[in-house]
């Protein structure tokens, strides 16, 4: 019963397309997610739950920002960097955004090369993804240090305006940074499994795609944080 649980996907069946396919999949008295390995379905369900966690944070942020009578600090100025005598708004955040998007690109290609059974390239691309993730965390550490030590931002107050700025900032970016850090460890682990030849022995590179889903999700969350916290 359990021997092929990870890679049997019901692919031998004739499946209907469109919404009728969705109805017959769900009512088939079998697994509902045809052609989706269990690991991938469960990662998606985990990511769905994580969506709600991050949404709660962002909605909480919206609530305190919308209800405070004190002016909200201008993120464009708070996160500006001094380069060559001029203040460039949001520079570090922009660089972090591009780094995370690049890591998503390398990850997507790692998944692609995984399905071509190319062990070496998959490993290199995953390793590059993890390194980009690591540099993202490093920049975030720099950003936090600058904010805490130089600007005096605290969860209970800051010199720029509404006190809720600090608490929501540390909560949201901190939780995201934790996800990135966890993702880096996860990616290194899967990358070394790939290099060791685990996927070749098993005959499939599913675990690379599953790790990829997690990593793209981390990038996805950053898209929303960038828009709502840094740009709004």
């Amino acid at each position: 019963m359990a021997q092929s649980a990870s890679s049997n996907t019901g692919a031998g069946l004739t499946l209907e397309e469109g919404w009728q396919g969705a109805v017959s999949d769900w009512s088939s008295d079998q697994r509902a997610f045809k052609k989706v390995p269990w690991g991938k379905a469960l990662m998606w369900i985990f990511l769905l739950s994580d969506t709600f966690v991050f949404s709660c944070f962002l909605i909480g942020y919206m609530t305190v920002r919308n209800s405070t009578t004190v002016a909200w600090p201008n993120p464009s100025e708070v996160f500006a960097l001094h380069v060559g005598g001029v203040e460039v708004p949001l520079l570090l955040i922009a660089i972090m955004t591009f780094i995370l998007i690049s890591s998503s690109g390398t990850m997507a290609m790692a998944v692609n090369f995984g399905y071509r059974q190319n062990r070496k390239v998959t490993f290199y691309l995953m390793f590059a993804t993890a390194l980009l993730g690591l540099s993202f965390v490093g920049m975030q550490a720099f950003e936090w240090t600058k904010l805490i030590v130089e600007e005096g931002v605290r969860p209970w107050g800051n010199p720029f305006g509404a006190a809720q700025f600090g608490s929501t900032f540390f909560m949201i970016t901190g939780f995201h940074g934790l996800h990135v850090s966890g993702g880096v460890i996860y990616l290194f682990y899967i990358a070394f499994k790939v290099l060791r030849g685990d996927c070749d022995r098993k005959g499939n590179y599913e675990i690379v795609e599953i790790a990829g889903l997690y990593w793209h999700f981390v990038d996805l969350v950053w898209v929303f944080i960038f828009a709502f916290f840094y740009l709004w």
């Binding site: 049997n8 996907t9 997507a108 793209h216």
Partner: protein, 117 residues
């Protein structure tokens, strides 16, 4: 489950998400352009409704591209697409409720401070 258990192991490769590599480069480039554009919204100091509109447009385009292509959603069967993408729509109700709630809080604070007590 018996139908699927008969399948031998090690044949899953043909079922995976296999797509030409070019599409990832195109999406990657698009995401770069969209990120640059959303950064420009701040750099050019757009204000008010135009700013919020542009931020939301670029954000949704980026999110859509990541989910659709990088996370392979457009190639999945509708059963899982609906199961994953429909539930978050209730968040819009949550946003609406908390907007009302926070407006009310703001209003009571303003009236309280106006009394000077």
């Amino acid at each position: 489950m018996a139908h699927a258990d008969a399948k031998p192991q090690g044949t899953a490769t043909t079922e995976g998400q296999q797509h030409p590599i070019g599409i990832y480069f195109k999406i990657w480039g698009l995401l770069f352009v969209l990120s640059a554009l959303s950064y420009m919204v701040d750099y050019m100091q757009f204000e008010g409704y135009l700013r919020w509109f542009l931020i939301l447009v670029f954000m949704l385009l980026k999110a859509g591209l990541i989910i659709a292509v990088f996370m392979h959603m457009i190639w999945e069967r509708l059963a899982i697409v609906y199961a994953i993408l429909v539930p978050p729509s209730v968040l819009l109700v949550f946003v609406a409720l908390m907007t009302l709630e926070s407006d009310h809080t703001w209003f009571t604070r303003i009236t309280f401070f106006a009394q000077g007590s």
